[in-house]
Amino acid sequence: MAKSSSEAVAELFEQFGEEIFAHVRLVVGNNDTAQDLVQDVFLHALRSWPRFERRASPRTWLWAITRNVLTDHYRRRQDVVPLSEVPEPAASADDPINRVFLEEALAQLPLAQRRVFILRAIEDRSSRETAQRLGWTEVRVRVTLHRAIKRMEKWWNGGEVPSG
């Protein structure tokens, strides 16, 4: 018997929920927001399940939804950063101070660079996979990663990083 849409999406959540959360958490730098956004991703998936034509794998499809949810989030948020989104040290971290430092390092990257940096440098995805997830070309991924690393090095070494 065919699975209902909610069962199918619930299964996807079990399979890919962690992976998507880890990524979203790194991008937004805040647990609560990341949890909300992950919920949004899967609710979107549930609502658009009838339109999912299986041309791509469910994982690719979910990542496309994640990309859109993140874009919408940043479009809505614009430049306003609520107090609750100030990175907080997580209880599970071995070294909370180091963690805050790392969060700040990520947060200083512009969104596009941050997303590439997270996928390539932290999550260890290939250029090809990163390009797929972001809907970019591999060349764009490589160029953006190069800029992100340069900027990150500057920040890491205490140099001035250009704003924006």
């Binding site: 209902s4 849409s5 909610s6 999406v9 619930a10 959540f13 929920g17 962690e18 959360f21 880890a22 958490r25 790194l26 647990n31 949890q35 992950v38 919920q39 899967f42 609710l43 549930l46 609502r47 658009s48 399940w49 009838p50 339109r51 997580a90 599970s92 971290a93 071995d94 070294d95 180091n98 963690r99 790392l102 969060e103 390092a105 990520l106 940096f117 390539r120 440098a121 932290i122 999550e123 260890d124 690393i149 990150m152």
Partner: protein
């Protein structure tokens, strides 16, 4: 160790974040509670389901009947002329750029009880006829001598198509059409020519059933230009059905 690996090591503490169990449970519950989405229906363009053919045929017959009922060009029935807006035949028309005319977004225009209600228009531009679904409570087509209400606009991505923006009363509508095409109107066969521009029109008034018909004719160009407006009588306490 390559450069990327160095960064990977540095950021390793951040990569271990997991979804807390209560949140996981909450998302599961939310997914289970969400109503099932409606199944996606593919649009069937052709062939049409049999049920649709009935309504298509009815629409075609209705439009043929309506057109055949219209008075012939030049027919003047002066007895209905006073039912036009009380302030004069063309006085109700406002400048094209007036903000009160910006109803193109589809807002229903206000109905003024004492005014005739426009129930529809045919625009005849060159050999082309368009059904315009404007509904407007007051105002009449202005003579085409004051042309700002009629504009022919090319549609950029379809160079063989054009659009006509027409302001009728307080409504602005865009009609789209294509050429080449032939059509027959009042037993005359019109051929599409792309370069027609109306120079002037005049007005005659007729009546079709309970509707007052204003017909702009006097076709100075070879293929004809005209605007046909069908108006319902003024709304009264005992509305005409």
């Amino acid at each position: 160790m390559d450069k990327l690996e160095t960064w990977r090591q540095r950021f390793r503490p951040l990569a271990s974040e997991t979804l807390p169990d209560p949140v996981r449970d909450q998302i599961r519950a939310r997914l289970a509670a969400e109503p099932a989405p409606a199944p996606q229906r593919r649009r069937q363009l052709w062939p049409k389901p049999i049920a649709q053919w009935g309504s298509i045929a009815a629409a075609v017959i209705a439009s043929v009947v309506t057109v055949s009922q219209l008075a012939a060009p030049g027919t003047v029935l002066p007895d209905v002329a006073p039912k036009a807006p009380a302030n004069g035949l063309f006085a109700a028309a406002r400048p094209f750029s007036s903000p009160s005319h910006s109803t193109a977004a589809g807002r229903a225009p206000l109905r003024t009880p004492a005014s005739p209600v426009l129930i529809g228009n045919w625009l005849i531009l060159g050999p082309r006829v368009f059904w315009l679904t404007a509904r407007t409570p007051s105002g009449l087509p202005r003579p085409v001598k004051a042309l700002p209400w009629l504009k022919v606009l090319p549609i950029a991505h379809q160079p063989r198509r054009q659009a006509v923006a027409v302001q009728i009363g307080s409504s602005l509508r865009i009609a789209r059409f294509a050429y080449p095409r032939y059509f027959t109107f009042n037993r005359r066969r019109y051929r599409v020519t792309p370069s027609l521009r109306p120079t002037h029109l005049s007005l005659s008034i007729g009546r079709v059933g309970t509707y007052t018909v204003y017909r702009l004719h006097d076709l100075p160009l070879r293929d004809g230009v005209g605007l046909l407006s069908v108006w319902a009588p003024p709304i009264t306490a005992d509305p005409v059905r």
